[in-house]
């Protein structure tokens, strides 16, 4: 099996994987990470989202062999020096999870959106998050959380 050196949350991780193995399984099965999750496997829900070069990518359809040295950011690595990311703080404050299985997708998409543009308005947020699914119907709290995170990040 080929070996790959991935750049995950700022650390080099050496993994053995088949060239066509989607990154999701490398992260969850080999590296036992908990942020990205399997929801659909066909790029339609967002629960597996990671950021590659700062942009949201669906790990369930991204072959591990396609990543090279590109920086990969995950929910597992968002917390820095014991400090949660403002988006995570806002999700806790607004209680923006029911089962929370979908939270990874919403948070990673929001991080990508707000780090580029913390002043994103409601219309931009709605558009930026349009491809993420939540079965429990937590959208109302999620939108509140993303707006709150934007406010915090705009001040910082």
């Amino acid at each position: 099996m080929p070996q790959y050196t991935l750049n995950i949350d700022g650390a080099k991780r050496v993994v053995n994987a088949r060239a066509d193995e989607p990154l999701l399984y490398t992260l969850t099965d080999t590296l036992k990470m908990k942020g990205p999750k399997f929801g659909c496997g066909v790029a339609q829900c967002g629960t597996c989202t990671v950021l590659v070069d700062g942009a949201p990518v669906r790990a369930c359809v991204t072959p591990v062999s396609s990543l090279g040295k590109k920086p990969i950011r995950t929910l597992d690595g968002l917390e820095k020096n014991g400090k949660p990311h403002p988006v995570q703080v806002a999700f806790v404050e607004e209680q923006a999870a029911q089962c929370g299985y979908c939270a990874n997708g919403w948070i990673m998409h929001s991080v990508a959106l707000l780090e580029k543009n913390p002043k994103a308005g409601e219309a931009q947020i709605r558009k930026g998050l349009a491809g993420v699914q939540c079965r429990c119907g937590t959208h109302i709290a999620i939108l509140r959380a993303v707006k709150r995170a934007g406010e915090t990040m705009a001040k910082a």
Partner: protein, 761 residues
């Protein structure tokens, strides 16, 4: 939590509970009641320590046989116990759904989490407080009624400096005290001590808003979901399903997966699966495995286009008058039919409801470790104890040797696919002698999960000269509500069980919720029609959140608007005229007022973008909800946008208003989703809803611009369920608003844009 063995704390708990079980039994009720008591495997409900324990450091642990999928049940339990014991909220921790630690309280179902599940906890906590105060009285040599408790410390009222803490009193020991169990297993399980719980007016923590703690773990990537359970030596499994429903595997070509090192296949009856060393290899093997399936004709004659014709033409398998449970009821439609025949005006309409899928955000996942005659199961099941009983039966093991640990998982709203993968994992783990993690695919999660049944609600009413209702006829005819039971207590209630020869049970029910309106002559009944495919059907039905209530209420609450229109009355005024229950009246009024409801009878809208408002009411689970909404209908696209939602809500004594709000907000989006988009697509061979494009749910785009919740708190009333009554209202409230906006009455849900567009053209 990930360990195969009990942690020390869990082990101490489990052992303690067993010790106390013996003493608990001694003091149980009378001899006759004892003779009738069902056998309890695991912690006994008649032992105080089963429910509540106090550790040497004063931490209170509460064990419940229920589970939570994001509504914060554990927090609400902690509030109740903290108040009963007089300890701080953060001193209480709650464990849910572990068969080693809790008795069978029925798991999650019917919004019973609080209204029924909290009873034994509340009673046990009250009894614990009584015992602790008594023991403090002995220690301090004062009368018990001279004592009070604050923050886990018993003190002398006249001399607060004199006191002793719970931790000192308990000293790390068990209570070893008995409760009287009511001999019920499941939702109705209760146990009482000598102490009476507090009057709600004394509660300080109950009724206040607190935030859930599990959310931090969930958003910080710390939470263990079932999907994360990966014990050492694990095998990954995937199932292989036929392209045509009902086809049987005739031959499997083992060579087709020979290139995947370590991959193996498994066939038993109609169940085909593969296992492999890595998850990706399991997926590859499931795709590569060549299976020759029997050549069967598709079972779903005519597919989804003909489903309502099928229902209309079918000979009923069963029929019953209104109550959902409780045996057969006689009913005589004649007086109602006579009254209708004599009416000045007759209104009638049929309402159609499509099959819907549970479609969890992640499909079924289960991990099993079967070793010899023992099995350990990790599952995000709603019913851990019933799953334990079912898997024991499936594998021929002693119930006492099977343990199920409930885990957080994808939100489950009824009898979803949650129990399926755990059963399959158990079968495969026994076969291969290693722990097995079975993960269903997205396709299986929508195409093979149990479905909410399609049905037709037929309504008929008569009006006299003065516009009064003379007779009211309700009939629901649809697919059976439970081809599989809401508990996975036995293998025939699962797909793999049926595929391996356990024959489907024959019980029928469609369910009609009691109506809120009281009319002089009325008749209500339901009929079920035969399933398309008897065994192991991808269209087998089971409970989905507020089972069959959304369907029946869609008919009832749309029709009441139609009758109001025929009587020339405003829908709110007409409802209020016929309601008698003050709590129903209160929620209708609350929603209408907050909405700024202006009475009118003629439709409002016009043009390309039409707006209108509607309302619907539902009560059940000891709770009441009225949903009013404003919609915007786009004539050229058929898109309905629910712009504003107002809910008037009364769930009796509110334990945690933050939790109630969250539950209602969730129901708004899931309600909009089920009302506007959700339908299972199928042709005559198979279910063609296989992903989120072919099974559409609401998205961020569908969020209302404005939401108002009017929460009526009634501390003098029992705790009601807040998870179901509101969602039931959405299809009717939206259809009523669309009729108000456009003048066009939509009598089928989901109200998908394509169909709406056609109706408006």
């Amino acid at each position: 939590m990930n360990d195969l063995t009990l942690t020390r704390r869990e082990f101490l708990q489990a052992a303690g509970a067993l010790v106390v079980q013996a003493s608990g039994l001694l003091a149980m009720g009378d001899a006759a009641a004892q003779a009738a008591a069902p056998v309890i495997v695991g912690p006994h409900p008649s032992a105080l320590d089963t429910w509540v324990r106090i550790a040497a450091d004063g931490m209170v642990t509460v064990n419940s046989g229920k589970m939570d999928c994001g509504q914060g049940l554990d927090l609400a339990y902690a509030q109740i116990v903290a108040d009963e014991l007089d300890v701080a909220l953060d001193r209480v921790q709650v464990t849910l759904g572990d068969t080693r630690l809790s008795p069978n309280q029925g798991g999650g179902s019917g919004s019973t989490g609080l209204r029924m599940g909290a009873r034994p906890l509340r009673n046990a906590a009250a009894e614990a407080r009584r015992l602790l105060v008594e023991s403090a009285a002995a220690r301090l040599s004062v009368a018990a009624d001279a004592l009070d408790v604050d923050n886990g410390r018993v003190f002398v009222k006249a001399d607060p400096a004199r006191g002793v803490t719970y931790a000192e009193l308990v000293g790390g020991r068990n209570f070893a005290a008995p409760l009287k169990w009511n001999n019920a297993v499941g939702n109705g399980m209760d146990a009482v001590g000598q102490a009476r719980p507090k009057d709600p007016s004394q509660y300080k923590i109950v009724g206040k808003g607190f935030k859930r703690k599990d959310i931090a773990d969930k958003v910080m990537a710390r939470e263990h979901y079932t999907a994360h359970i990966r014990p050492a030596n694990l095998l990954h499994a995937r199932a292989v399903r036929p392209a045509v429903a009902g086809a049987q595997p005739l031959a499997v070509d083992a060579a087709s997966i020979a290139g995947i090192a370590g991959a193996k296949h498994f066939v038993k009856g109609g169940f085909v699966a593969v296992v492999a060393e890595t998850e990706w290899d399991a997926i590859r093997a499931s795709r590569a495995l060549k299976v020759t399936w029997s050549d069967v004709q598709g079972p779903f004659a005519g597919g989804e286009d003909k489903v309502f014709d099928y229902i209309r033409a079918a000979r009923p398998t069963a029929a019953n008058a209104i109550p959902m449970f409780g045996g057969k009821k006689d009913f005589d439609p004649k007086p109602t039919l006579d009254a209708l025949a004599a009416s000045k005006k007759v209104v009638e309409a049929d309402y159609e409801c499509a099959f819907q899928s549970h479609a969890r955000i992640a499909p079924s996942c289960g991990v099993a470790d079967v070793r010899g005659d023992k099995a350990e199961i990790w599952a995000d099941t709603q019913k851990p104890h019933f799953l334990r009983d079912g898997i024991a039966k499936f594998l021929g093991l002693q119930v006492a040797n099977v343990q199920v640990k409930w885990m957080h998982g994808a939100g489950s709203y009824g009898r979803s696919d949650a129990d399926e993968a755990p059963y399959e994992a158990a079968l495969l783990s026994r076969e291969f002698g290693r722990p097995v993690r079975m993960q269903w695919s997205r396709e299986e999660g929508t195409a093979w999960d149990p479905k909410a049944p399609a049905g037709i609600i037929s309504m008929k009413a008569g009006l006299d000269e003065a516009g009064n209702v003379t007779g009211w006829l309700f009939k629901a005819k649809g697919f059976n509500g439970w081809d599989v039971r809401f508990t996975g207590e036995s293998p025939e209630h699962t797909l793999v069980g049926m595929l391996t020869g356990h024959r489907k049970w024959n019980a029928y029910n469609f369910n009609t919720p009691e109506e809120s309106y009281r009319f002089p002559k009325h008749v209500h009944w339901w009929e079920t029609v035969p399933p398309y495919l008897q065994e192991a059907s991808p269209m087998r039905t089971a409970h989905l959140r507020a089972p069959q209530e959304m369907q029946t209420r869609f008919g009832q609450e749309c029709f009441i608007d139609e009758v109001a229109a025929a009587a020339g009355m405003d829908p709110v005024a007409f409802r209020l005229k016929h309601l008698t229950d003050e709590r129903e009246i209160a929620v209708v009024k609350a929603a209408a007022e907050k909405m700024g409801w202006q009475p009118r009878t003629a439709r409002a809208g016009g043009g390309k973008l039409m707006t209108g408002r509607g309302i619907a009411l539902h009560s059940g689970y000891q709770s009441y909800a009225a949903v009013a909404c404003e919609v915007e209908v786009n004539k050229s696209t058929g898109r309905i946008w629910v712009k504003k939602v107002v809910i008037g809500h009364d769930c009796g004594m509110m334990v945690n208003p933050i939790g109630v709000r969250a539950a209602l907000e969730g129901q708004i989006m899931q309600g909009i989703s089920r009302a506007l988009y959700e339908e299972v697509h199928f042709d005559d061979k198979r279910v063609t809803s296989v992903d989120w494009q072919t099974y559409r749910i609401a998205s961020m785009d569908d969020m209302p611009a404005e939401v108002e919740l009017v929460l009526i708190n009634r501390p003098d009333k029992p705790i009601g369920g807040a998870g179901e009554p509101a969602i039931v209202c959405f299809p009717a409230a939206i259809a009523n608003a669309v009729a108000d906006a456009t003048g066009v009455r939509i009598r089928r849900y989901p109200m998908v844009p394509e169909r709406v567009k056609k109706l408006l053209a």
